[in-house]
């Protein structure tokens, strides 16, 4: 065996190379997938907003081309007020979430605050609670008359109390359930940020506050901005929290308006599409602003080489910091869980005095027992787990492909793919379901009525979150690691399998956990797509909520939160293990 013999061509004979397969099979397939999965439903909605009849099953009557939907939406005397409320609450919620998220992330990754490992794990727990359940729990806790907290407060003889039925209350709940996003992004960025820059600033004589404000924060600014943007967009379209809290407060939100337009008779789906298109436009503008803001600065300092983050040593004050963090987590995590547990075991949740409330004689496990007996609970739980698994498997493959094309190739059109992959976050879940229904029902492969259509809808909807989670870790893999595999004779797929994917595992894990959580709790998307056989858990919960069976909602919420917690903990353990072995 001579040297050239081995070295010449590792795979003898003519075989389609990775490159040709990629060029002629994968890229067209990939584009087609993106087109049908993401672009088509959105385009159909956009089109629908300009038509007088909905483009159902892709039957498009261009004769009905009109601007009337927009005109009617804008002519609504309350439109501007609704818009102002929506934007105001979203902006305030985002600012609060950013503040809380950053402070917690900083404490966890840059200080010696006691219990910071614990803070790190519990700061994301509010994500496990779906917004509808969260809002419901806070309603139980903080409604002005019979909120548990208010009853306890007044039983001490004091006047007043808190009022969750207000703009401030809504923003408060926004902050609790959306700061984990900021926390996640910021912690990840802080962990990767080159600590030597902070050390350099400290050596130049900068005080701690100055280091934090002038070095640390700007370093992770892109991560914060992109998290803030995501939160802002999600808050603009969030339906569940305003639906539960805003109506009593006489505050009108666009998302609730969309819900009404689609849910009630006669459905105004075209106008709802028009409202949705307006929200998409706002989002795209915001995304472009963010790109502009972050592209001006080059943040080359965030390197893949893990230097140990710089920890600020605090004296006695660290106990104060720790106390503040734990108090916050107590409020954000423990209180709502407690409220759910309380009303799921309380015979009647209609109490108005402390003695009624604290009466333990009607405590019961009946609701749990009945829920366990109900076959729909197990049935929908199995469906949901199947949907989650499907979403994770298909989603991870697709998001990996997207992230790879965007970050690791010089393919023409990859910026376009990047933008396409953000769009789903801009479309309210309430109406994107319509887009899927309208556009996919005619695809002649028997999708409709199966779990697969729900899976595909979720995959499409969570593209922004998923592809970003994977992209974040893909971007940190030095391209020479991949190239050296090619030089060693590994073809494209071999390189993927043996080098790129194993190195990207942290991002893939993060995406998997995120997808599991999101697809488990997703509510609105499946509304148009489910059948009796494909009932999912969150819809059973919505049904219970709408028929007023509040105790069961609490029971189901506890089930859901428990399952998500188990998934989260298992995911964390797995990830730690893979971190350690890497």
């Amino acid at each position: 065996m001579t040297a050239t013999d081995i070295a010449g061509s590792p795979r003898e004979g003519w075989r389609p190379t990775g490159r040709t397969i990629a060029q002629w099979v994968f890229f067209p397939l990939f584009f087609l997938t993106l087109l049908t999965l993401i672009l088509l439903p959105v385009l159909i909605l956009v089109l629908g907003s300009f038509l007088s009849e909905p483009p159902r099953a892709l039957q498009i009557d261009l004769g009905g081309l009109t601007l009337n939907n927009y005109r009617e939406v804008i002519a609504d005397p309350e439109f501007l007020l609704m818009l102002a409320n929506t934007v105001k609450a979203a902006v305030m919620g985002t600012l609060g979430a950013v503040f809380v998220g950053i402070v917690l992330a900083w404490m966890v990754s840059r200080t010696n605050v006691p219990g910071r490992k614990f803070i790190e794990y519990s700061a994301v727990l509010p994500m496990m609670m779906p917004p509808l359940v969260g809002a419901f729990a806070w309603d139980i806790l903080g409604s002005p008359q019979s909120g548990i907290l208010n009853i306890l407060y007044r039983s001490t003889g004091l006047e007043g109390g808190i009022n969750l039925y207000s703009m401030a209350g809504i923003c408060f709940v926004f902050i609790i359930y959306y700061s984990p996003y900021v926390f996640l992004f910021t912690t990840a960025a802080l962990k990767n940020a080159d600590a030597s820059l902070e050390e350099a600033a400290a050596m130049c004589g900068a005080g701690r506050l100055r280091v934090v404000l002038q070095i640390t924060l700007p370093l992770v600014l892109p991560a914060i901005l992109s998290a803030a943007l995501m939160v802002l967009v999600l808050l603009i379209e969030i339906f569940a929290i305003p639906a539960v809290l805003a109506e009593t407060a006489h505050i009108k939100f666009i998302s609730v308006q969309i819900w009404k337009m689609i849910g009630f008779a006669p459905p105004k789906v075209n106008q709802a599409s028009a409202l949705g298109v307006m929200l998409i436009t706002i989002t795209i503008v915001l995304v472009m602003v963010q790109h502009k803001l972050t592209s001006k600065q080059s943040f080359v300092t965030v390197s893949g080489k893990g230097s140990r983050p710089r920890v600020m040593e605090f004296g006695g004050i660290r106990w104060l910091f720790s106390g503040i963090a734990f108090t916050y987590l107590m409020i954000a995590v423990i209180l709502p869980y407690f409220a759910l547990l309380f009303i799921s075991t309380k015979g009647s949740l209609f109490f108005s005095t402390a003695s009624q409330m604290l009466d333990t004689s009607d405590l019961t496990l009946d609701y749990f027992r009945e829920a366990m007996r109900d076959p729909i609970i197990t049935h929908s739980l199995i469906n949901t787990l199947l949907v989650c698994a499907g979403t994770v498997v298909i989603g991870v493959v697709l998001y990996f492909a997207i992230a790879y094309v965007v970050h690791k190739t010089a393919l023409r059109g990859r910026r376009l793919i990047d933008i396409i992959s953000v769009i789903p976050i801009a479309v309210p879940g309430l109406i994107i379901g319509l887009g899927y229904l309208w556009s996919w029902i005619s695809i002649p492969i028997g999708l409709y009525g199966t779990l697969m259509i729900i899976i595909l809808a979720y995959v499409s909807q969570f593209t922004p979150q998923g592809s970003r989670a994977i992209g974040g870790s893909l971007i940190q893999i030095h391209k020479e690691l991949e190239e050296s595999s090619r030089m060693c004779g590994g073809g494209f797929f071999y390189t993927m399998r043996r080098v790129v994917i194993p190195l990207c595992m942290p991002g893939i894990f993060a995406a998997m956990v995120l997808l599991l959580v999101l697809s488990f709790r997703e509510l609105a998307t499946a509304l148009f797509l489910y059948t009796a056989k494909t009932q999912v858990f969150s819809l059973v919960m919505l049904d219970m909520w709408l028929r007023g069976s509040t105790n069961y909602v609490a029971v189901l919420a506890i089930f859901q939160v428990s399952v998500l917690l188990v998934i989260y903990i298992a995911g964390s353990i797995l990830r730690q293990r893979s971190d350690r072995s890497a």
């Binding site: 040297a3 081995i6 061509s9 090619r486 060693c488 590994g490």
Partner: protein
């Protein structure tokens, strides 16, 4: 391949590796076309049989040393027993047999470097490429690895292309150096050719710290030498590749190491100068002398410094060690 950063040397290397696709032309290795724009031939990098060492080492952190080195063999479906044997041999060459089962992340920079080398040679490539592999190491380690590399390349007899911006590395390692600038090959030659007969002022400047100054040729060729005079009144006799017309402007290149400083005038060509600075460097002393009102560098070997700042001396430039490079109109 030697050149300043951004001159295109790394791109050329990547073109050879197949990591970039050229716009046109052709690349041939050992008589085999691996790229040809006309026939639309493009052999992907994994099929070219080239070993490569990257600047960042590119050691896969999720594998052990053994797995890293075994990778190219596994790709080629070599038998398990043979893999073990050849990996051991390759690691033996770079002196890392004892580290085989260590995770790659626990290695030092120098060790990573060796693993990368072992990985590049283990499958006996027809060509070995190096992309500034030593630039991330400290000076001592760099010198040692340089020697080892040279030794290894000559022992294995592998044709290697080495990219660097460090002229010392290039002169020490290379049989032939390709000097590149602004995307073009400026000169190809042995290190000695480049030192002694740089064809452009750029080459002279880049590979050495020679004295370079402008002068005007004012004599015809005699004994292979011509005379030139600077604006400041220096008169030098030097050589050129071909006779240069009288009156043309040239760059005069004189290596400081070629010159001598003496206490007394040796011959008529000795030039009286004043020492304006002396820098003792241990094994040599570098002097800046005032010659005709302008500074001139001289290096004297030896651990003893003979002249002090402010003293006077005679400068002697051995015949044919001054070289004329015609100043090009465009340059």
């Amino acid at each position: 391949m030697l050149g300043p950063s951004g001159c295109g040397k790394t791109t050329s290397l990547r073109l050879i590796a197949g990591l970039e696709k050229p716009d046109g032309g052709s690349i041939t290795i050992n008589g085999q076309d691996i790229y040809d724009a006309r026939t639309r031939t493009f052999v992907p990098p994994e099929s070219r049989g080239i070993g490569m060492m990257f600047q960042s080492y590119a050691i896969w952190p999720h594998m052990t040393v053994f797995e890293n080195v075994a990778y190219p063999l596994r790709v080629r479906r070599v038998r398990r027993a043979e893999i073990a044997e050849r990996v051991r041999a390759a690691l033996g060459i770079v002196g890392l047999e004892s580290q085989m089962e260590r995770p790659a992340t626990l290695l030092s920079g120098g060790q990573m470097q060796r693993v990368a080398l072992a990985r590049a040679i283990v499958f006996e490539p027809q060509l070995l490429l190096f992309d500034e592999p030593l630039s991330n190491l400290d000076l001592k380690l760099r010198e040692r690895l340089r020697l080892e590399l040279k030794d290894l390349v000559s022992r294995t007899g592998l044709t290697s292309i080495y990219v660097t911006h460090d002229q010392l590395e290039a002169t020490e390692l290379a049989d032939r150096i390709v000097v590149m600038n602004g995307g073009h090959v400026v000169q190809i030659g042995t290190p000695e050719e480049l030192y002694r007969a740089p064809r452009t002022r750029f080459v002279a400047e880049f590979i050495s710290s020679a004295n370079i100054f402008k002068a005007t040729v004012d004599s015809a060729r005699a004994d292979g030498m011509q005379r030139a005079t600077t604006a400041g009144g220096r008169v030098i006799r030097g050589v050129a590749d071909a006779e240069i017309a009288s009156g043309r402007e040239v760059d005069v290149v004189i290596h400081p190491e070629d010159c001598l400083l003496t206490q007394d005038a040796r011959d008529d060509d000795s030039i009286s100068v004043v020492i304006s600075e002396a820098r003792y460097q241990g094994t040599a002393t570098r002097y800046t002398v005032d010659w005709g009102g302008a500074p001139f560098e001289v290096a004297m070997q030896g651990t003893k410094s003979h002249f002090a700042k402010g003293g006077s001396a005679f400068l002697c430039i051995p015949k044919s060690r001054a070289r004329y490079i015609p100043v090009e109109a465009s340059a």
